[in-house]
């Protein structure tokens, strides 16, 4: 118990020193309640039109990406906000099913983003999930914003402990962080503007996935 408190204090202090608010997992840990909330969140995401998966171990990520990518036409990949180990895991999983994949580095000043658009997969770090509505919170950093918006296919990753119950749980986050902006993604881009027929894939991703992990992503 004492060690757990020390650990939480360490995470909070580290975040404070970096000028960030602590993530939900830092104060909650990934316990069974968090896992259940994670499942509830994924169920809602599924209803919203996301592909969904829950993985307990980093190695299991590979099989989810291989399975999903088998159905997608992907030639390039961009990853934002994930560690080198996870990047490598995802890239290896993809080349196991798609022989030719280019991993694109997210440049600071891209003049033409077309390269990132068609036949492309964006993988990004989700700040928090909202269980009640199946929403993925993406903070306004350049990489995550692009990776979750421009490519044809996108996958967001978050830890089970980062799922909150509803929007109101975000109030403190919004007040603590001096954020320029934020987006809550609750499904692939869609429209019903022509005869109210629902069509997926307008200006944003055509397919979107979300993976909740039972392990810490930033280790």
């Amino acid at each position: 118990m004492f060690m757990q408190r020390v650990y939480i204090l360490y995470i909070v202090m580290a975040a404070w020193l970096k000028g960030e608010a602590p993530r939900a997992s830092a104060t909650r840990g990934i316990d069974s309640a968090a896992k259940n909330l994670g499942y509830e969140f994924l169920e809602k995401c599924r209803k919203n039109g996301f592909k969904t998966a829950y993985v307990e171990r980093p190695e299991a990520l590979a099989s989810v990406f291989s399975e999903w990518a088998a159905h997608w036409s992907i030639k390039s990949l961009m990853i934002a906000g994930l560690s080198g180990f996870l990047k490598e895991t995802i890239f290896n999983a993809l080349i196991s099913v798609k022989k030719e994949i280019t991993c694109l580095e997210l440049p600071d000043l891209p003049s033409d983003l077309t390269l990132f658009r068609a036949s492309s997969l964006g993988v990004f770090r989700v700040y928090a999930g909202v269980a009640e509505t199946g929403g993925l919170i993406v903070l306004d950093d350049w990489g995550s914003n692009l990776a979750s918006l421009i490519p044809e296919y996108t996958v967001g990753l978050l830890e089970a402990g980062e799922v909150v119950s509803d929007y109101w749980a975000l109030t403190s986050v919004l007040r603590q962080r001096d954020i320029g902006g934020m987006v809550i993604i609750s499904g692939p881009s869609s429209t019903s503007d022509i005869e109210l027929t629902h069509v997926i894939g307008v200006h944003g991703p055509v397919e979107a996935g979300v993976i909740v992990t039972g392990f810490e992503l930033d280790e």
């Binding site: 929403g135 929007y167 975000l170 934020m182 869609s190 503007d193 022509i194 005869e195 069509v199 944003g204």
Partner: protein, 699 residues
């Protein structure tokens, strides 16, 4: 009234069918989603929006302060012209060549596209529906589905004409085309312009809700970003903003959340290598003035969900290019009064038929029909025929004194033509027949002079003069349930005066009825009505028109008779001997929806063993005397609704129809050809009360 345009719309059955089905489906989805929300979300939303309504000036100041603290460049535009000047000059100063926009009704209100184009700046709408209407050179016909009036073939034809590309007329292929076609605009635009669904006063953030992803691209790609917000979009805190975010998508599209909720504020960097400029333009344009108008200020609560458009019977037929100015449909009338003037609003107010379905659908309880009625009143644009229709009760009283003469007049082709040219009653409208005599005579003095009773029966015009058999049955059923009954002489409810905007007359009628009923209410009597519109007037309209304590007391004591029996009645068990096995369709009158949750009549009929089915299609399209009015003034639009409703009812295999509204009965009988009976007749039949005065020609 633009007769030519209306006739043109009415001649396009396919367009009406598309809109009718779309709106019906939107209403159904929205209703389901709203019902599944925890009640505290709706209560929280109402409280938040009431706070905005009452404190708009203070919240505006707070927003300006906090947005500036965050680094926004804030401009408060008192008028549309000021807002336009600011944005156009900014674009010119920064050398902007192309602007991309996400959907924004406030910029439509300002006519921003025209102002930018006149300054030589290209404007590209990026919301799919908005882009389609932009290419068509039209304005949005619906605030959240701008191109709902166009079919897939229309859009494919438009793409061929304007972009010289042949596209398959399927929503999927058209969407793919626009995804590709607009990409270059996103990449090359210098300035992005968004609207706002919410502005959070505590920190100056702007929130937009979208589905297509264009809102995100507009806020991400250009080097300059401008958000244009009507000041009524302000809420004080994030807690309040979340209430809007939970209810808005449910009420608008029947979902828990839209695909994207974008929180906009000054960004740290852009792909252009510099800190992007962010401007917030807060538009007053009549909103603060509306806050001081008792009958308009409720409109400031509006969250633009469009539930009032989708449920509106005339909007479903006419669409927003006729029933609308910049803002369309029922709420469009109020927003035209706020952002333009009462005269402009009164031009579209005539398409409101006072069915009140918009009030029942509004998540922030704006009394749209009563506000529209006041707009009609303030404009002074009412016609002589409308004034004559407010004398409906006198006509009914005369008819009951000379039934043979009036029934003959109503049946003769020549006199119907005369009625049409003088009173404006369409000769194709099937009319109720007069029975002769009236309820007060039939009941006798005992009921008329009673000073105390458990229940006071308020019959309204139809059950007093036209088919007083319903009134008699009502009294007998109440007595069979153990209630003592009084039937004091009251005036008709005065609904035509409210409907056509004659408020001083409506006020006189309301005062008279409240004066008559208050002594009973003070002694603990309940007031019951067999006509839903009468119950609506007593419980909803009178307290708002009079504002007196007496009217509020009367309102609290009022209920529909069948609703009372459904909750308190104890009908004795008797053997069923009649049409219990024949399939009955229950039609839920519009005004009943405001008075009780669910459908108590349908539930009661089922409890009594009747085989009842129903479909919630909304209004049957007659709306009192409106559907009787000649040609495009009423009947032609009413019959478009009536025919579609009849098709739905007949498809259920029903053999007869139960309802409580006398005018709905008129419409349903005319278009289904089925027998229509007041619900009280089924209850009386169940109780074994003989209906000696039933007239097969009436309901």
């Amino acid at each position: 009234m633009n007769r030519g345009k209306i006739l043109q719309v009415l001649s396009n059955a396919r367009e009406i069918d598309t809109r009718w089905r779309s709106m019906l489906s939107m209403t159904e989805k929205s209703r389901g989603a709203i019902l599944s929300l925890p009640p505290q979300y709706l209560q929280g939303l109402l409280a938040a929006r009431q706070k905005t309504q009452e404190n708009l000036a203070t919240l505006l100041e707070k927003t300006v302060d906090s947005a500036r603290r965050r680094g926004c460049q804030v401009f408060v535009a008192e008028t549309a012209e000021e807002a336009l000047r600011y944005i156009v000059e900014l674009a010119k100063r920064r050398g902007v060549k192309r602007v991309i926009k996400s959907k924004s009704m406030t910029t439509e209100e300002l006519d921003l596209n025209h102002a930018l184009s006149s300054a030589g700046i290209e404007v590209v709408e990026t919301d799919l529906g908005e882009r389609i209407v932009q290419l068509a050179g039209q304005r949005p016909s619906h605030i959240i589905a701008p191109a709902v009036h166009l079919s897939r073939e229309d859009v494919a034809r438009l793409v061929k004409e304007r972009r010289n590309i042949a596209v398959d007329p399927s929503p999927e292929a058209i969407t793919r085309f626009f995804r590709k076609d607009l990409w270059q605009s996103f990449q090359e635009a210098d300035m992005g312009i968004t609207g706002a669904n919410i502005v959070v006063a505590e920190d100056g953030h702007v929130v937009i809700v979208t589905n297509e992803g264009n809102g995100r691209l507009v806020t991400t790609m250009p080097r300059i970003l401008v958000s244009v917000a009507g000041i009524e979009k302000i809420v004080e805190s994030w807690e309040e903003a979340f209430h809007v975010l939970r209810v808005l998508p449910a009420s608008a599209v029947g979902r828990d959340a839209t695909s994207y909720i974008t929180v906009i504020g000054p960004r740290a960097m852009s792909r252009h290598g510099q800190v992007p400029e962010y401007h917030l333009v807060l538009v007053n344009n009549g909103r603060l003035r509306a806050g001081s108008e008792v009958w308009l200020k409720e409109a400031l609560r509006c969250i633009r969900c469009a539930a009032c458009l989708d449920i509106c019977p005339t909007f479903r037929v006419l669409g927003g290019h006729i029933f609308g100015d910049i803002y369309t449909g029922p709420m469009g009338v109020l927003w035209t009064a706020i952002t333009r003037d009462v005269k402009a609003a009164s031009e579209i107010a005539k398409y409101c038929v006072s069915c009140s379905l918009c009030l029942s659908a509004c998540p922030v309880q704006i009394d749209i029909p009563l506000a529209i009625s006041r707009i009609k009143d303030a404009s002074g644009n009412q016609t002589t025929r409308e004034r004559m229709l407010t004398m409906y009760e006198r006509y009914a009283a005369l008819g009951s004194s000379f039934p043979r003469l009036f029934n003959w007049l109503q049946g003769s082709r020549i006199t119907r033509r005369l009625l049409e040219s003088i009173l404006g009653i369409d000769r194709r409208r099937m009319m109720h027949r007069f029975k002769g005599g009236n309820l007060y005579k039939a009941l006798g003095e005992r009921y008329l002079e009673a000073q105390e009773a458990d229940v006071v029966y308020f019959p309204d015009t139809y059950a007093t003069f036209m088919d007083w058999g319903i009134g008699l049955l009502a009294v007998r059923v109440l007595e069979a349930n153990g209630y003592s009954v009084a039937v004091p002489k009251t005036a008709g409810s005065g609904m035509p005066s409210i409907q056509y905007g004659f408020h001083s007359k409506a006020r006189q009628i309301a005062e008279k009825n409240v004066r008559m009923l208050k002594s009973f209410v003070e002694k603990g009597s309940k007031i019951v009505c067999t006509e839903p519109t009468a119950a609506y007037c007593l419980s909803e309209a009178y307290p708002k028109i009079l504002g007196s304590e007496d009217s509020k007391k009367v309102a609290e004591a009022t209920t529909e008779l069948v609703a009372l029996l459904a909750t308190e009645g104890k009908p004795a068990q008797r053997p069923m001997s009649h049409s219990a096995n024949s399939a009955i369709f229950y039609h839920h009158p519009c005004h009943s929806r405001l008075l009780a949750k669910g459908r108590p009549s349908e539930e009661l009929l089922k409890r009594l063993g009747y085989s009842v089915s129903t479909i919630d299609y909304g209004c049957c399209g007659i709306a009192g005397t409106w559907g009787m009015r000649v040609g495009v003034e009423g009947y032609l639009i009413s019959s478009e609704i009536g025919r579609r409703v009849a098709d739905l009812i007949l498809a259920t295999g029903a053999k007869e129809i139960a309802t409580e509204s006398s005018v709905c009965a008129q419409q349903l009988r005319q278009f289904t050809g089925l027998k229509v009976r007041h619900t009280i007749r089924y209850i009386a039949e169940y109780l074994g009360i003989q209906d000696r005065d039933s007239d097969a020609l009436n309901f």
